[in-house]
């Protein structure tokens, strides 16, 4: 890639990032441009992915090589589209029937084994070898077992929630709260990581090799908001002051 294109790419990336972040101050036409561009580019991107990574190599190329068997999944796939045409929408049932049968056949045994049996086993297994467990390991296994049972009690709706059942399900609520708290904390960390990623790139584009793209674009945005704010003050009836 030529140097000029790298610089242009840097300006585009820095500009779109700043335009999107500018919404945190207030809605503006630059944000709208970036938002619409993102949606349009996303649609275009997925269209070319489906065309060049799926339709051409998986359907067109095999058909050119006279591998007619691909017509079966291709026709079943296309049949799903017929649901948009009421008169022939019944055709889509064949595609859905195949999807349901194939999906259920593959998923049910593996789901049962991986997420059901293995998890029950993981809960019980540590107690089969208590003599080799450390005290901390035993405590950990107990917490996992108590937590699992208590949370299951909370989600068991066929017994009235009172007495001992209520007490156990209340313990389950504390375990759930701990899980939600952990997840929320991790979500905050993940969002900050993403923000760090964008800022790190903005910093990369702020150098002389990119002709100070970040600073120039940021100054432009600030100037826009200042001018817009001044104009809005002069015409209070049309303004959208915060």
């Amino acid at each position: 890639m030529s140097h000029t294109w790298m610089i242009a790419g840097g300006w585009l990336a820095a500009g779109l990032t700043i335009f999107i972040f500018s919404f945190l101050y207030k809605d503006n036409p630059f944000f709208k441009i970036a938002e619409h561009l993102y949606l349009g580019a996303g649609m275009g991107w997925w269209f070319q992915v489906y065309l060049y990574s799926i339709w051409i190599p998986k359907v067109a190329d095999p058909l050119r090589a006279h591998q007619w068997a691909v017509l079966v999944p291709a026709v079943l796939g296309v049949s799903l589209v017929t649901q948009f045409f009421p008169k022939i929408s019944w055709v889509s049932r064949y595609g859905f029937t195949f999807l349901m049968g194939y999906g259920a056949g593959l998923a049910i045994p593996t789901m049962l084994s991986t997420n059901f049996m293995s998890q029950i086993y993981g809960c019980i297994q540590p107690f089969t070898d208590v003599s080799h467990m450390t005290r901390l390991g035993m405590l950990n296994s107990l917490i996992v077992a108590v937590g699992t049972i208590a949370v299951l009690f909370y989600f068991f709706f066929s017994v009235e929630n009172k007495g001992a059942v209520k007490k156990i399900s209340n313990i389950g609520i504390y375990f759930l709260m701990a899980y939600f708290g952990t997840t929320f904390g991790n979500t905050v960390m993940a969002r900050f990581s993403l923000l760090y990623g964008r800022f790190d790139e903005l910093y990369s584009y702020s150098g002389a090799n990119y002709f100070y793209a970040t600073q120039v674009l940021l100054a432009g945005m600030v100037a826009y908001f200042l001018v817009h704010g001044l104009l809005a003050k002069k015409k209070p009836e049309g303004g959208a002051a915060n």
Partner: protein
């Protein structure tokens, strides 16, 4: 007086908080503080040790399923994993089920292959994007070349030196899925559990708690979580990268959030009872 000041503070324009947060993340980028990363997660250490336990020449399969939207967290993880694999002279195969990851995969290998003098086709191979992960994982269990007959550049995959002796999962020392999606569930279901493939993963911080059950049962050998996980891995490798430099910013931002939460709760308490 205090009550009035506190009430005024609670009505502060939230954009000031945005600015404060932006500064807490931006300042360490411009002026790194070099805060140490002293708590290495046991789950990250397990991935590192598993990779280290493989004899040189072993084949590892990396499923790099992330795109630019999760790049800050997952790209440093992928870089660290490939760095360790090259240092240990492991053979590396790469697959992906996310079309947006192809450019990022190229970036990882164009940078690190030069640093470690690794040759494409001999030391590593990149397979093209494939849709329908379930079908691919099922096919790879019997014969990998049934789905990946050619590499990304159109070469016959089976004829490449890096693929010598590799037919299916049983020939692989380790599979690591670095992903911002739920593809780990599929890897565990259709490869790890079914064919006893040693499996580890790298995920975003958001999804990290969800995979605790797989760790407890040993269905995952280890887990790298978010930017902190990447920093842990870089610390273990003694090769600071983007994960480590991000820790400064994350530390400052987390301190800011903790201070704001404590201050707001104390403030509300005072406003209520003063």
């Amino acid at each position: 007086m205090l009550k009035k000041t506190l009430e005024l503070l609670f009505n502060i324009d939230r954009r000031w908080l945005f600015l404060l947060l932006a500064l807490s993340i931006f300042i360490p980028i411009v002026r790194p503080l070099g805060l140490p990363n002293k708590n290495i997660s046991a789950d990250v250490r397990h991935v590192y040790e598993k990779m280290n336990s493989l004899p040189p020449g072993s084949f590892i399969l990396l499923s790099l399923d992330y795109d630019p939207s999760t790049r800050p967290e997952l790209h440093p993880q992928a870089m660290a994993l490939v760095r360790q694999a090259f240092e240990r002279n492991l053979r590396v195969g790469v697959v992906t089920f996310i079309p947006g990851s192809t450019g990022l995969i190229d970036e990882v290998f164009s940078t690190l292959s030069k640093q470690y003098n690794k040759v494409y086709g001999k030391d590593y191979v990149i397979f093209p994007y494939e849709p329908n992960i379930v079908a691919v994982l099922t096919q790879m269990a019997s014969n990998l070349y049934g789905i990946y007959d050619k590499d990304k550049y159109g070469n016959e995959a089976a004829s490449l030196p890096v693929m010598k002796g590799i037919t299916n999962y049983k020939d692989m020392g380790l599979v690591v899925d670095v992903t911002g999606t739920s593809s780990i569930d599929i890897w565990v279901q259709y490869a790890g559990d079914k064919y006893n493939v040693p499996l580890a993963a790298g995920v975003t911080a958001i999804s990290q708690p969800s995979y605790g059950p797989y760790l407890q049962t040993g269905q995952l050998k280890g887990l790298i979580g978010g930017m902190k996980g990447a920093a842990d891995y870089e610390t273990l490798l003694n090769a600071p990268g983007k994960g480590t430099s991000g820790i400064d910013a994350l530390n400052l931002a987390h301190i800011l959030v903790v201070v704001l939460i404590v201050f707001s709760n104390l403030g509300l308490f005072l406003v209520k009872y003063l």
